[in-house]
């Protein structure tokens, strides 16, 4: 436990000292801000953060791997992984520490978006329920995407490759309905359950890019469902375990 905290603490310090985190946060605010404005500036628009959520869900496909791409790739490139793995640390402690650091940074980023809600409260009468569940969904969703990004980062020393692989996996999961619907109905049924949350229709005024069939739809609507929570938890845990396995496999080559 102490070791997890040590690793997390070091990574958070590195994030704060490097420009990457600020660039990611700035572009996140810019993109989600655009979606938020687009969703509330219509004549009969509803006072909700749906637009922001849609923008976030879509953009995190690229931003989460950008946040995590350094974490394990850099260790491999610098060779410092050899020092970590010859210290009395378990692979799981290294991976969890890094994950917690990335998760903390993304939570901090979400905290900055709270002003969307404040604007809604000043100029309208928003329904607090969906805002709360929206943020809850976003937190779970970001954990899943960061875990996929961290997995990609464990694969090799090249950060760019990590970014592309991570985004690739997330894009596939996002548009899996697109693939599934072209296959036999039975396969489609199974694959559709894996859908991450976003969809192609990012400029659609109704959905704002949150797929109806995906696991984010209910959160955006104000519903907390056990299935959706389980899904995001599972993705997070499966990819964290795969990451740990990759690090451990180095010992058995």
């Amino acid at each position: 436990m102490k070791n997890i905290f040590l690793i997390a603490n070091k990574e958070i310090k590195t994030y704060i000292a490097s420009p990457m985190a600020y660039i990611v946060a700035a572009s996140f605010l810019a993109v989600t801000g655009f979606f938020f404005v687009a969703s509330v500036s219509d004549a009969f628009a509803e006072a909700s953060i749906r637009g922001f959520l849609a923008g976030a869900v879509f953009f995190l496909i690229f931003l989460s791997p950008a946040i995590t791409m350094r974490l394990l790739s850099e260790e491999q490139k610098l060779g410092t992984l050899e020092l970590l793995l010859t210290s009395p640390l378990k692979e799981a402690e290294i991976v969890l520490g890094k994950f917690i650091a990335a998760f903390s940074i993304i939570l901090l980023m979400f905290l900055l978006t709270i002003y969307y809600t404040i604007i809604l409260l000043i100029y309208g009468v928003p329904d607090i329920g969906p805002i709360f569940t929206g943020y809850l969904g976003l937190i779970l969703y970001s954990a899943a995407t960061l875990s996929v990004g961290l997995f990609a980062s464990a694969l090799g020393p090249n950060q760019l490759v990590s970014l592309v692989v991570g985004s690739g996996i997330l894009t596939t999961l996002t548009f899996i309905d697109f693939i599934a619907n072209r296959l036999s109905p039975n396969v489609a049924k199974i694959l559709n359950h894996l859908q991450l949350g976003g969809s192609f229709s990012v400029f659609d005024q109704q959905s704002f890019g949150i797929s109806e069939g995906g696991h984010f739809a209910d959160f955006a609507r104000g519903i907390i469902s056990l299935g959706d929570i389980t899904y995001y938890f599972s993705i997070t845990i499966v990819f964290l375990m795969l990451t740990i396995l990759i690090l451990e496999s180095r010992r058995w080559r």
Binding site: S18, G79, E82, L83
Partner: protein, 320 residues
């Protein structure tokens, strides 16, 4: 302390280390010597628990390298060949982090860190970013992280590679000082370094240990020839060479061209005579030179350097 028995390590089909065995006692200072790709780094990586052995048993301090890897890692301070450092951290922050992940308490770090920074000579640079340090100071930072937690065993992989000559000498001195408190394993392909620092040398070639002894004994043992420098006051070099070549223990006799120019005026001839060992070569040569009536100015036995021994044990042409 360290017990390696029939260790082999294969990367796929490629054998990096083949069936090596050795034992180290507490306080031993051992050099792993061998050309690039001989298996030095692989051996060290097995000892540090970074890579598991394919075959064989390794125990360190009574712990098994596979079953008790975490315990063994607590005993070891390790500097990998590439000197891995976090370039975006300050020296003292980096060392503090390394100390912490090795399980040092905050109070222990506070006490130990200034000591180590002092010993290693990093005082001026404690608040400098690691990325801005010169290669030599990065090397020092790397050594500092290896000794910070006072490990029983210190493993340094090519600690003087890629730094300038002055820093090499300083680093060697530093390592020699450290030797007293640790069981030290050092790898190198620079031979004088090993003979200077280490009390025992393991010569590794193509994954096998080809020699294991003290540096001085090693040079005795592996001698297949000996060189004698001979200076004679005479003009007739051909007569001398002909005479010397008559002895069956002499492998070769030739003029020492290096010294000849400087001594040109005093009518002396400098020769290098290569002889087989285990003969009283010097005595016989001296006797015959005097009998012939030539003036014997100097007769000097040249010990073989580690380089030459190294070439002999690792050159494939050598008959086994």
């Amino acid at each position: 302390m360290i017990n390696v028995k029939n260790l082999s390590k294969y990367y796929g089909d490629y054998p990096a280390v083949i069936n090596i065995s050795f034992e180290l006692e507490k306080g031993d200072i051992v050099g792993l010597l061998g050309p690039n790709g001989a298996g030095k780094t692989t051996t060290m990586r097995v000892l540090t628990g970074f890579t598991p052995p394919t075959e064989g048993d390794v125990t360190i301090g009574g712990y098994d390298i596979i079953k008790d890897s975490l315990e063994i890692r607590k005993l070891i301070g390790y500097l990998p060949e590439s000197v891995p450092l976090y370039l975006d951290m300050e020296v003292s922050d980096y060392l503090e982090f390394m100390g912490k992940i090795r399980g040092m308490s905050d109070s222990k770090i506070r006490k130990r860190l200034p000591e180590v920074i002092e010993t290693i000579g990093l005082g001026e640079y404690r608040n400098v970013l690691v990325g801005k340090l010169s290669k030599g100071y990065r090397q020092r930072t790397g050594i500092a992280q290896a000794i910070l937690h006072e490990p029983k065993i210190l493993i340094l992989d090519e600690p003087t590679i890629g730094i300038d000559p002055v820093q090499v000498i300083e680093t060697r001195g530093l390592i020699k000082e450290l030797g007293g408190n640790h069981t030290l394993i050092l790898s190198s392909h620079i031979l004088p370094e090993v003979s200077m620092i280490c009390k025992r040398v393991l010569v590794i070639h193509e994954g096998k240990i080809v020699a294991d002894d003290k540096p001085s004994v090693l040079s005795e043992k592996l001698k297949t020839s000996e060189q004698i420098e001979l200076t004679i006051r005479s003009k007739n070099i051909n007569e001398i060479l002909k005479e010397l070549r008559n002895f069956n223990f002499i492998i070769d006799a030739r003029e020492n061209l290096v010294n000849q120019i400087t001594n040109k005026n005093d009518e002396t001839i400098n020769l290098i005579v290569e002889v087989k060992p285990e003969n009283n070569a010097q005595e016989i040569i001296a006797k015959s030179v005097i009998e012939k009536g030539w003036g014997l100015v100097r007769l000097n036995s040249v010990p073989m350097t580690l380089e030459e021994i190294f070439m002999q044990v690792t050159t494939d042409e050598k008959p086994k």
